[in-house]
Structures are given as structure tokens and as C-alpha cells.
């Protein structure tokens, strides 16, 4: 019989509509005013359909979410290397980056002029970066990681969207906060090495 699929589809839509209101009755205003309500509304077992009221409430991103890369540095209160960058300017990330949006220059020792494992410049053109995560995948020193911050729209490409070393650097504690299980995994792997 023709048209059966359409009726089924409309049935699904109707079910969502009804469920949205049924759950509203069960939760009352708590659903929209409390944190529990938000978590329940956005979870995968929620019933009904909801709008994410974006600037006021934000969806939690999964741990493996990828946006723009950032460079890991030690926290400022680290006992041995406060604020030191992990990157050794080996250049592997620049070579694997598919759209070639990373540009780095190895630093030189101020006296001897010999190369040192510390990038003098590190730029990522975030308007070219395709968020693939290959740089983070290939970096042998765990020095570049994928950030979760997606609120980076701005008015000018050349001044605001070419991230330099200072803008890319974020402390290790930030990485441990946004990706706790991966940070732990990497930490254990480094320890056993």
C-alpha cells in the first residue's frame, strides 16, 4: 500500500510531540530550572524533543570532541618546569597536517646559536585547520592536543584567527580537565616507558 511510510513517519513525530509534554508534566518546572533537569533533557534516554537554549545552556561535549588544537605547557606552579612548553619543535605535526596550516620555527640558543628544543614561533591558521586531529595523533611528545573551545568566531581573519604560540598555549591542568581519562591514559603510558 502506498503512503504507509508517510503515516508511520507522522506517527513518530506525533509520538515525540506527546512525549515532550508528558515528561513536562512529570518533571514540572524543575525540568527547565535545575541542573538535573538539564542533564536529563539532554541525555540520550530522554523522551521528547528539546531545544538547546544555546548561550544560556550549553551541551556538554564528549571527551573526544575535537576543535582547534592547542599546545600543552606545564602549569605555572610546576616544581621543576613552571610554564615550560612541551613542544620540542620536531616539526612532525607540520608534516602530517593535511591542509598544511601549522607553521613553526625552531628556536636558537641565544649564545651558541645552536637549535634548541623549543619553538620560537608556532602558528596555526585556525581558518584552515580542518579539526582532523592528526597533529595530536602523531605528536611523539603529547605536546599538541585538541581543544574543546568552539566559541572563537570573530570579525577579522588575519589578526584574530592566526593563533600564535601565546594564544595556543594552555596548561596541562586544562587538558586534564577537559579530557580526564585520556590525560590519565597518556600519563600512565609515559610513566611505563
Amino acid at each position: 500500500m502506498y503512503g504507509l511510510g508517510i503515516i508511520k513517519g507522522l506517527g513518530v513525530t506525533l509520538k515525540h510531540l506527546v512525549e515532550t509534554y508528558v515528561d513536562d508534566f512529570r518533571w514540572g518546572v524543575r525540568r527547565y530550572t535545575t541542573d538535573d533537569g538539564f542533564v536529563a533533557r539532554q541525555s540520550t534516554d530522554t523522551r521528547g524533543i528539546f531545544t538547546v537554549q544555546y548561550p544560556e545552556e550549553k551541551l556538554a561535549v564528549p571527551e573526544r570532541f575535537r576543535y582547534i588544537p592547542f599546545l600543552v605547557v606545564y602549569d605555572d606552579d610546576h616544581p621543576d618546569h613552571p610554564g615550560e612548553i612541551w613542544c620540542t619543535s620536531c616539526g612532525i605535526c607540520t608534516k602530517v597536517c593535511p591542509p598544511q596550516c601549522i607553521w613553526i620555527m625552531r628556536g636558537k640558543h641565544p649564545e651558541t646559536g645552536r637549535p634548541i628544543p623549543d619553538p620560537e614561533y608556532f602558528y596555526i591558521d585556525i581558518d584552515i585547520c580542518m579539526n582532523c586531529g592528526l597533529c595530536a595523533e602523531y605528536c611523539p611528545f603529547d605536546a599538541i592536543k585538541m581543544d574543546h573551545d568552539y566559541e572563537i568566531a570573530s570579525y577579522d581573519r588575519t589578526t584574530a584567527h592566526i593563533f600564535d604560540k601565546a594564544k595556543l598555549s594552555k596548561p596541562l591542568s586544562y587538558w586534564q580537565k577537559i579530557a580526564p581519562s585520556r590525560a590519565l591514559e597518556e600519563h600512565l603510558a609515559r610513566e611505563t616507558k
Binding site: T51, P99, M130, N131, Y155
Partner: protein, 221 residues
């Protein structure tokens, strides 16, 4: 936008004498605020998408993220009726003439939001033979949203960024109330390659220079 008393004095209408103690001309700044408030809350986007980013734009336009909360739900299929062009996706050379023509057809005030890496800077196809690395080579872009693709929330953040820009504008200085018509952007020509008419003389000079140099070396040989 925070304003200093100097900014207010710029907004004053010189035809109306204002006593010194009322220099922070309330009437005109309030008008600005109402004007921008109403514009920022009814930005209608143009209904068109170019590549994978368009899928994410469609997701943003659906009820889950609901741009109707910003007065942006009406995607107009005609450039005459819209204020915002979301360049969502890879800008191929074949598409550029159409995009520039649509931009020219939009009524001012008009805004352009480059969505995703492709539209902003070329993205993964940056050096592709058939792709333009950034729509800002042809039309002025107001907001750049990075990402490949930007998630719906990132796009909404781009919309909010645009609203902030609109709210910072002043009715006294916006270009569309200036005298005379605004210049249309010459539509690029797609031949064997994309030609931007604004660079016509440059291209001609370069090609002539190349040819004459070639002839000279030929004669000398």
C-alpha cells in the same frame, strides 16, 4: 560596545543646537539603539548552502538549536529579502560568480558570515585547482566561524558575534545611508580559470610582460 562621552558627541546632529549640559544627545543614541536592536533581532539568512557545512547549518536551523530564538528562522530563498549570507561550505570556482551576483542582489544592510574553514580560508582544499581559498577574496566578510564543520553551537556563537557587530553600528556612520549608490562588486568570469575583473589590468600587464620577455629570449637565442 561601551561609549565614551566623545563617542556621544560624534553622534550629535550638528543641525540641532544642543546646550552644553545636554551634549550627550539622548535622542540620537536612543534611536541607534532601537534601530540596531530591531535589526539584530530579525536577521534573515539567505537559503543556500555549498557543501558539508551546509548540513550543519541545516541542523542549526532545525528545532534542536532553533535560531527562531534569535529571530533568524526565516531563511529567505530570494536575496532581495535577506540580510545575512551564510557562506556555508567549499567555495568552488564555478560557484563564485553566482555568490557574487547574489551578494550584489542583496539589499543593504547586508552581512556575510563565512562558515567553516573552506569559506574562511580554503580549509582542507586550500590549494585545490577548483577551489577559492576564502570567499573574502571576492566579497567582504563580517564574521568568520572556524571549524570543519562548525558545530551548531559554534555557528550560533557566530550569529551572536554578528549581532554584537550590528549593535555596535551607528545610524550616523553606516555606509548605506551615505549619498550615492554603493558600487556593485564586478562578477568574476569563469573561463578556463576564474578571472576577477578587478584584476584585469594586472593580469593583462603580467601576461604581456611574460610574452614580451619570452619573445626577447627567443630572438636572442
Amino acid at each position: 560596545m561601551t561609549m565614551t562621552p566623545d563617542d556621544y558627541s560624534d553622534l550629535n546632529n550638528p543641525d540641532i543646537p544642543i546646550p552644553d549640559e545636554l551634549k550627550s544627545n539622548i535622542a540620537i543614541t536612543t534611536l541607534d539603539r532601537i534601530y540596531n536592536w530591531s535589526r539584530a533581532r530579525s536577521v534573515w539568512p539567505l537559503l543556500f548552502g555549498l557543501a558539508c557545512c551546509a548540513i550543519e547549518m541545516i541542523a542549526t536551523a532545525a528545532s534542536r538549536y532553533d535560531p527562531a530564538r534569535f529571530g533568524m528562522e526565516v531563511m529567505r530563498p530570494s536575496p532581495r529579502q535577506c540580510d545575512l549570507m551564510i557562506v556555508s561550505g567549499t567555495v568552488t570556482k564555478k560557484m563564485v560568480p553566482q555568490i557574487v551576483r547574489l551578494y550584489n542582489q542583496m539589499a543593504e544592510p547586508r552581512y556575510v558570515l563565512a562558515m567553516g574553514a573552506c569559506a574562511s580560508g580554503g580549509g582542507p582544499f586550500k590549494e585545490g585547482y577548483n577551489v577559492v581559498d576564502g570567499i573574502d577574496k571576492f566579497i567582504p566578510v563580517d564574521v568568520y566561524v572556524p571549524g570543519c564543520p562548525p558545530t551548531p553551537q559554534a555557528l550560533l556563537h557566530g550569529f551572536i558575534t554578528l549581532h554584537k557587530k550590528i549593535e555596535g553600528q551607528s545610524i550616523m556612520s553606516v555606509p548605506w545611508y551615505k549619498k550615492g549608490q554603493s558600487e556593485a562588486i564586478p562578477v568574476p568570469v569563469l573561463g578556463p580559470d576564474l578571472i576577477d575583473p578587478r584584476q584585469g589590468e594586472l593580469i593583462q600587464a603580467a601576461s604581456e610582460g611574460e610574452y614580451s620577455a619570452q619573445f626577447e629570449t627567443d630572438e636572442n637565442a
